[in-house]
């Protein structure tokens, strides 16, 4: 199975949820800000690279996990993927898409804009990190929900 965590920029909520899923962030507590900011893909995808699949690692079952930014077009991208998979036929691996956009809050949006669009990393990155930590349980829920019922996310 190919697992894709999707959000606006592919670098904040999707990377956090995927890192929880991969065991790179804790589940029993809220991580420290530094733990989040130390993730190699956190707040590091440029706006020009939105749409690129970034490989984050393999899960316990050996499935490849990616983060994808789709801008405002998450739903529109989702519509085009099933017919693409049909083209390739039944032998391709299953594709799971987890949309993390619902966990994007105003601090995340503002911090992400400051850091990624204006390149004001110093106020932007800590702000987006703070916003993510405030909403960490929601992202944890998303990761755990996918883990418990991956079939719901298959395209």
């Amino acid at each position: 199975m190919i697992i894709i965590f999707q959000c606006f920029g592919g670098t904040h909520t999707s990377v956090t949820a995927a890192s929880i899923y991969l065991g790179k962030l804790p589940r029993s507590r809220i991580p420290r800000l530094e733990e989040l900011l130390d993730l190699p893909h956190f707040d590091r995808v440029e706006n020009a690279d939105i749409g690129t699949l970034n490989y984050l690692g393999r899960d316990r079952r050996g499935n490849r996990v990616f983060a994808l930014g789709s801008g405002r077009w998450s739903a529109a991208i989702r519509e085009l993927l099933p017919p693409l998979l049909q083209l390739y036929g039944p032998e391709v691996p299953a594709l799971a898409l987890i949309d993390c956009s619902s966990a994007v809050t105003w601090p995340v949006r503002l911090g992400g804009f400051l850091s990624r669009s204006l390149h004001c990393i110093d106020p932007g990155r800590p702000l987006v990190g703070w916003g993510i930590l405030r909403n960490y349980r929601r992202l944890l829920q998303l990761a755990e929900h996918f883990e418990a019922d991956p079939a719901r996310y298959l395209l």
């Binding site: 690129t52 699949l53 801008g71 077009w73 085009l80």
Partner: protein, 142 residues
């Protein structure tokens, strides 16, 4: 196997015309237009789907030509589909997806009498189809 994908944003016509031109390189614009109108009538019956990705036909070069439309900006879609196709099409004998460069939007008078605007549009489509055909040829040799 090579899939060639022509995608146009929010309107199917440019992708459809490019797909027809790829499969029938010798057709003049007027006949391309008639074929496109026939296909639209037959396959979509006047509907405007928000998103579509379908195989169209096999070209003389042996590629499966597909056409698509949706709301996603072409460069973003190209990056996503390119990345996905590299994951899905790994291994010998697996299909390769070649996404054509972004197509120009169709002029408002496309289905009416030819004018300078439509002939400029046709030139763009012809050039882009030729570029894509050459790329497909190169991919086929690899």
């Amino acid at each position: 196997m090579i899939f060639v994908l022509y995608y146009s944003e929010k309107m199917i016509a440019p992708a459809l015309l490019a797909a027809i031109s790829h499969c029938h390189p010798d057709l003049p614009p007027e006949r391309l237009r008639l074929r496109a109108a026939g296909w639209l009538q037959r396959e979509l019956a006047g509907k405007k789907p928000s998103a579509l990705l379908v195989p169209f036909a096999v070209s003389p070069g042996g590629e499966t030509v597909c056409l698509a439309t949706g709301a996603v900006p072409p460069p973003l879609l190209r990056r996503t589909l390119g990345g996905l196709s590299r994951l899905l099409g790994k291994g010998p004998g697996q299909p390769v997806l070649l996404t054509a460069r972004p197509l120009p939007p169709a002029p408002a008078r496309l289905w009416k009498a030819p004018c300078r605007e439509t002939s400029a549009f046709w030139k763009e489509i012809e050039a882009l189809v030729e570029q894509t055909r050459l790329q497909a040829e190169l991919l086929g040799e690899q």
